[in-house]
């Protein structure tokens, strides 16, 4: 290639790349900027790109107990609830997903492939059609408006994928390692925990991140099940601003930043594991 087409190619590439990057980043960044603006500035035309007088008032308001602007929810509490649900269900999913993943990868039993296939397909039905029966089920067993109820529900929703991703990774670990441990007198469980699992750590991290992000972000089931203010989660808190919609987007921006922050941290620090999980998850729905 001579010089001129190469420069042209490079310019076009950068230009298209820039357009895509702006398209991807702008919506979230714009809301983030709104969180530092004042109410007057948000209502003003023409629009200022950068905050004229950057302020943290919106964040302070969310964390203060003088509930402003009809804002009734207690954000430290919402954050605590969301962390509790996401962390607890992640632990449950890892423990039971590991056992099941091991069985699917290593043991022979009738119906193995059929059951694994059925579990994966069940993920595709976790949508709006289950809202009403889930509400009825939870009311019946007394776990409606309970954080424990959501932990159980999210664990059930998350287990098939965690099981599958752990099973696929265990299949790639040579059986000989385990067999020699068992020859040396280790039981199957000992060899699984001490020999195999350490090698499957990347898959466990992928499964944990994937589940944490899903549980932290979930909105539909949380919104139908949680009724009392002290049980609500961050996504419900953020959605509740819809009801008081005037131009108070500084609060929306601050709340959205709080909701997105843990996810962004997981995404940027666990990029490698995350992409792996997403691509694997995509292939199997």
């Amino acid at each position: 290639m001579n010089e001129q087409p190469r420069v042209l190619y490079w310019t076009m590439l950068s230009l298209i790349g820039l357009v895509i990057a702006v398209y991807i980043l702008f919506p979230v960044f714009w809301l983030f900027l709104a969180s530092f603006k004042t109410q007057a500035e948000l209502a003003q035309l023409p629009i200022n790109f950068w905050p004229q007088t950057p302020t943290l008032d919106a964040y302070a308001a969310l964390f203060s107990d003088t509930h402003q602007k009809g804002q009734l929810l207690d954000w430290p509490r919402l954050i605590g609830n969301s962390f509790f649900i996401a962390v607890t269900s992640t632990i449950i999913v890892l423990i039971f997903g590991t056992f099941a993943g091991y069985a699917f990868a290593r043991l022979q039993f009738p119906g193995r492939d059929l059951i694994l296939g059925g579990l994966l397909i069940s993920r595709m039905f976790q949508g709006a059609a289950l809202l009403l029966p889930t509400y009825r089920l939870m009311s019946m067993i007394g776990l409606q408006d309970s954080l424990i109820g959501l932990v159980l529900l999210y664990s059930a929703f998350g287990l098939p994928f965690a099981t599958w991703i752990i099973a696929s990774s265990l299949r790639e670990i040579p059986r000989e390692l385990e067999e020699s441990a068992m020859m040396d007198g280790a039981s199957r469980l000992q060899s699984m925990v001490l020999v195999v699992l350490p090698l499957a750590t990347p898959a466990l991290i992928t499964a944990a991140m994937w589940h944490f992000v899903g549980a932290w972000s979930e909105f539909a089931f949380a919104s139908i099940l949680l009724e009392s203010n002290e049980n609500k989660t961050v996504t419900i808190g953020l959605a509740s601003f819809v009801e008081l919609f005037t131009l108070e987007f500084q609060y929306v921006g601050a709340a959205a930043t709080i909701v997105a922050l843990p996810i962004m941290l997981v995404f940027f620090f666990g990029q490698r594991y995350f992409t792996r999980g997403l691509l694997a998850g995509a292939v199997k729905g």
């Binding site: 790349g17 039971f96 397909i121 809202l131 539909a220 959205a256 992409t275």
Partner: protein, 293 residues
Amino acid sequence: MRHDRLLAYAMILPVVAAVLAFVVGPTYNVATLSLTKVVMGMERGFGTFDNFRALTADPVFWLVMKNTAIWILGGTVLCVTVGLAVGTFLALDSRLTGWLRALILLPWVIPDVVTAMAWKWMLHGQVGIIGQTLQDTGLTDRPISFLGDPQLVMWTLVVVLIWRKMPLVALILCAAIRSVPDDQLEAARMDGANAWERFRFVTIPNIAFSLTAVTVISMIWITAEFALPWIMTGGGPANASQIMATYIYQQSFEFFNWGVASAMSVINLLMLVSIVALYLYINRRSWASEGSQ
């Protein structure tokens, strides 16, 4: 061996039980509820199609079906088309596209409640930056109410849906394009094929399987999406953006019409079953190979 078999069933028991309790059970429950006469939350007699009759008699029903078709079919077609264009670009070798491949998943991981709020803010009728930019550049002379105009609202939602769902489609197609054998592209080049012909006659046939699979998976993802339309419009204005998911939610938890809601849930499930069946049919080779491992 017998011991192994028992151990295996014990190990998978919690997962299977959880899915039976929270997915299979509720699916069965909503199916029976849809065939039960429900009065004021009390069940009065099984074995009737009253709920389905009531549902189809609701004038909103056909509007919901039309909107759902725009949402799922329009969304899928645009998602795959835009995803293919972006994926082709991302497949180019360069440090810039490498960074973009990492960055592009951001819309996919951001909670959809945040996405809904971010776009609601940008699309705001008076002070939204999109409407303002259109006015500043002279493309329109008055404010556009993207979410308040019944003619525009459904397609506006689809545009936001593309932002959220397209990146993963692009990434999957990018991976497929990057695995197209170089020697085939080189041979086509030798035969004098230009860039478009190489794309059309070498790349596309090579990624045909990924393309079909990702199309069907997109339909499943889009069918499952609820928070985005619900928070952005709540189905409004005047049901102009009411889709199956939002209709089910509204009938169940705002109007307490459990009969109608369960009938719509069953229609939604039947639709999902047919998409999943299509998916399994397309994917039959890959499932078979999984079984033989």
